[in-house]
């Protein structure tokens, strides 16, 4: 019965603060209907609010996906800013037929933006593989590089107690041996920290299919690793 206004009816004295869903649920976890409702009611303002909430996650994703070479020149925050502009322009479109959850929508636009940025900076060195296709998925070739870079960062981290360098090296080469899709799924689940449902949205699969893909990917990675160990053992 939430009409968006708090009733000033004296009978409903409990009014806004306690009846709104946001007050009972921690700010981060609005469910998707509530998010859509917020967007419908508040438009760009609501978008701004949700965007703020997801900002740090999106930033991490951008950082993960951004090519090393442009990291010096482009601030992830700017990519986000541009993305927000896009999102606000496309908000009405989105609300008409949501299609995906709000966070994934934001992610898609952000990555699209990032791709644009890459294009700008690598102008002239056009790689046909980098042509943008309809589905705003990250080009899987790039994922491999991103993963590498990401893992590299873990090796140079001052805190070495979570995982040892040798292990990371093993992991790195094992991942290289996977096919593109497997890498992609693993990247989405572990480096972008998406849930299975979100992965399904991104890859346009059913949740079960996404789940299966993931499990298979991990299995293959596991095999890869044991091969690795065996090889290393031999050496």
């Amino acid at each position: 019965m939430d009409s968006g206004f708090a009733s000033s009816d004296p009978k409903n004295a409990k009014s806004e603060p306690s009846s709104g869903p946001e007050s009972r649920v921690p700010a981060e976890s609005l469910c998707s209907e509530q998010e859509l409702q917020l967007l419908n009611q508040q438009g760009v303002a609501g978008l701004a609010i949700l965007f703020e909430r997801y900002r740090s996650r999106l930033e991490k994703i951008v950082e993960f996906r951004m090519d090393e070479r442009i990291k010096r020149r482009v601030d992830p925050a700017d990519v986000l800013q541009e993305a927000f502009m896009e999102l606000s322009t496309r908000l009405a479109e989105f609300l008409e037929r949501p299609g995906v959850s709000v966070f994934i929508w934001m992610r898609q636009k952000t990555i699209q933006n990032l791709i644009d940025v890459h294009r700008e900076h690598f102008r002239g060195k056009r790689d046909p593989n980098k042509e943008l296709n309809q589905a705003p998925n990250w080009n899987s070739n790039e994922t491999g590089l991103s993963i590498n870079a990401f893992l590299a960062a873990s090796m140079t981290s001052p805190s070495q107690h979570i995982i040892k360098v040798e292990e990371v090296l093993k992991l790195q080469s094992a991942i290289q041996m996977l096919n593109e899709l497997d890498r992609e799924v693993i990247a989405l689940r572990h480096f972008e920290q998406l849930t299975n449902l979100q992965v399904a949205e991104v890859l346009n699969l059913s949740p079960t299919a996404a789940s299966n893909r993931y499990i298979r990917a991990i299995s293959r990675l596991s095999e890869s690793l044991t091969d690795e160990s065996r090889n290393q053992g031999k050496n």
Binding site: G20, L38, I49, D75, P76, Q81, I163, T195, L225
Partner: protein, 1013 residues
Amino acid sequence: MSSEALPSIDLLVEEYSLLLRQGKVGSVEDFVSRYPQQAEALRRLLVVVDMVERAALQAASNPDETSDTKFRQFEKDIPHSFGDFEIVRELGRGGMGIVYVAKQRSLKRLVALKVLPSSGPQAIKNRQRFRREAESAASLHHTNIVPVFGIGEQDGILFYAMQLIDGVPLNHVLDFLQNRKSAIKDKENHDTLDEHSPQLIPAQAVVKLFQSDARDIADILYHANAIQGDSTERVKQTAVESSKSKFLASTVTMEQGGKQFGVATLQHSNAEPAQINPNSLLENDGSQSAKPNSTQSSVLSRKSFELNATYFRNISRLIASAANALQYAHQQGILHRDIKPGNLLLDRDATLWITDFGLARPTDIADVTQTGEIVGTLRYMAPEQFQGQADQRTDIYSLGLTLFELLTLQPAVEFAQGKLKYFNSDSGELQPSFSRHTNVPRDLQTICLKACAHDTSQRYQHARELEEDLRRFLDDRPILARRATPIERFIRWSRRNPALAGFMGLSASLLILILILQAISNREKQQNIAKIQEEYQRAEENVKQKSQALEDARVATQRAENNLQLAMEAFDKVVTNISSRGLNMNSITEIDGESELVSFADAELNSADIELLDTLLSFFDRFAQENGTNLKLQSATASRRVGDIQFHLGRLPEAEKSYRKSLEYYEAAVVNDEDVSKDLAIVEVYTQLVQVNARQGNMAVALATQQKARQILERNQRLKSSEQGKFALAVLLNNIASSGLRMGTDLRPRSRPNLFPPFRPAIAGEAPPPPNNVQPPGVAIRMKQEIEANKEARRILMELVSQNPQTEAYQITLAQNYRDEVRISRFLRDPSQGDKAIAEAIKILQELRAQNPNSLLIQYQLAETLGTPVSGKPVEYQRLNEALRICDRLIELQPNIPEYRALRGSLLVRQAGLRFANGKRDEAEQLLQEAIEYQKSLAEQFPDVLIYQITYAQSLQMHANYLVDRGDSQQALAKIDLAIRSLERIRKSRPQPFMLQNVINRLVETRNSITSK
């Protein structure tokens, strides 16, 4: 692995990952041991997952990976010179970039240089636009607009140069006044200024805002600059003007909660520190604050920051100049689009400067290092800007919000719990409220509110108008802006929120109305009038004064009349907003020259509404009594309103009294012969009286009254032949028919229990006719008269409709008429007549709907009509489905309107009946149960609303019938008992128990018949 096991494995893996990220799990084995059945497969997977996650975690903790603020990163790249400009020092940071003080080499002057970091696509995409706008901004020459000198680009970094303003942005002033940031550091600790560190300037400037001569701000700012400044030239200059500072320093006193608010005074040789005794002024926590011969801190008191009249005037002056600048820019075709305190600078000469003209849009700006900053810049955005539209009124709006904030030290807009909320207003109100800040001069409040009206048409249309009103205020002249009276605001509000006003908001809107009316209560008016009479007496000698007094009295009366007028309009609006409840039509009122159908649903008001209506009633009553002599017509109308209210509260005898009083006034009022409105009103009152009497069962009186009304119509040829007159007659006749019928069902005794057929469920308030046609004799005669009335009304309405095809009211009334005929035909057991009638009604309504696709009233009527059964037969399958479809849509659009839900309930009941008739008993029962759920919730939600209680009970009865049919007598009995109980509870509080009593009786009969089996 089987496909069944996989998903759950995935879930476990997901869970493990999550736990690992939160640090809540020790090792893979720990986790695996919890799920022994899948241990094998799980372990294999988790070992890998574990590795990957840990690698990710470690990578994330690498500081190189965490993103730096764009400025810090950016700053490494910033060159020290941009072409002609050499950077001196940083001035501040805004959303879009950093502002520096720079030296323009060629001209040897200092300028302000705003530098925008180039970033990915943004600068590239917007470069063209930015240049274009900079060019237009550069063409602006106005005292209050910061001139743009030039724009350039170097190394992909955009910059533009503007005049360096020796001043402070208003948002810093506000921050300081709001004590949000601690204010002052003395020179020794002077940091690089950024958003987070306090500014030296505000304190003195601010204090000056409270002092009489705004020009003195100049000195303060100047002095303050000197302290923070870098050039010795300036310091010397201040020596000359130091006398003022002494005066200033002595006015400041105490401290502010442990924090030291200091005013940096002069530090130069010519200062006269001896005249300022820091010790007498200082009261801090004893920490080392003042160093002799250097900056002395005095502390500013809370009290000195009480916003006083001078402050308000100074602010008005500032905003007026801003408005002037805006007017100029708008005339050049340039909008600012981002007016806010941060873009308004206050300089040493107490001049306001608007900066960043046309160079920014709010959505460009975000200081992404701050959470909620995007939201922050949205705070001053006008509503239409969110839609992407902007015109000169947009800037006015933003300026209005800025003004509000300056006057109240509160942001006008906040985001609370995901909703936009104006300061201090009830949620849903579209303007900030000054209610807690009543020391702001009222005229200034009015100006401010007009500037930031939500609706563009309600704002000042040009900045010039705003400026002029501000200047009028400053000159103590009356301003042009008129504050909407609470009544007008209420009217507008309820226009915007018909659903709210009609449903939950009814009580609220009535409450508001009451408050309004109490504000203009007679006592107040009487006081005024008494005062005026006093004046009159005192001015006996002086004729001139007398006429003035008379004039005042006239004005007061006029105002009283206007208020009444507005109050009545408001009342009508409230009532109109219930018009989606199309159940019964009782009166037509003219509003704004258009006929609007006002339908009162009987017994639909809940107790809060009733209470409030009561209060309204006493107001109107008082007004009518006290003004009987002077304002007959108005008193007549007031009495009539009283009658209306009493009628709907179910207080029929009182309503009758009021209506008769109203008639007296009407008779006594003298009007132009040509004016039909008085007679029309009288006819309408009589129409109401007919209803009143009919409901009480005084059919004889009702008929007599009807006669009288017809007489009046006859008497006044003009009226009779007028459209309105005809319509009034039709309504009159319609009323007799429908109310009579309803009363008929209430009073008719039951001779046999009504067990079958169960698939003809009761329509709310009506009962199916007795199976063996037993009717008491009186009814037959009444019937005849009602049929006559129905026919005659039909004739008139058809004529009206054919002559005035555009008038909805006629068509809707005609449709009502047809529906009444259906009911009649049911009693007459003439299905063919009923069929025709209903088909006609449906046709009319469908046409109406095509013409008015958005009218919910019409759709509701259509749905209800479609669902009306004709005698002896259940509703047609198709019609019922369509009715349900329409009803569902209505509910979707307005989930809060109970009538829609009630209709859905009855439609479902009928559908259940259909299924039952087709032998699909289980489905039938299911549908019935769904319907009962609906009706139950309505009954519980609205314990005062009779109709809902009755329908609920009747559906329970029907369910009981089904159960009996199935052989489950015990359940059936339980249902009946439930129904009886709930009704008994209600019965005690009802003023008119007739209807209830009948229903209860029927239930009891049913019960008896079950137990007797």
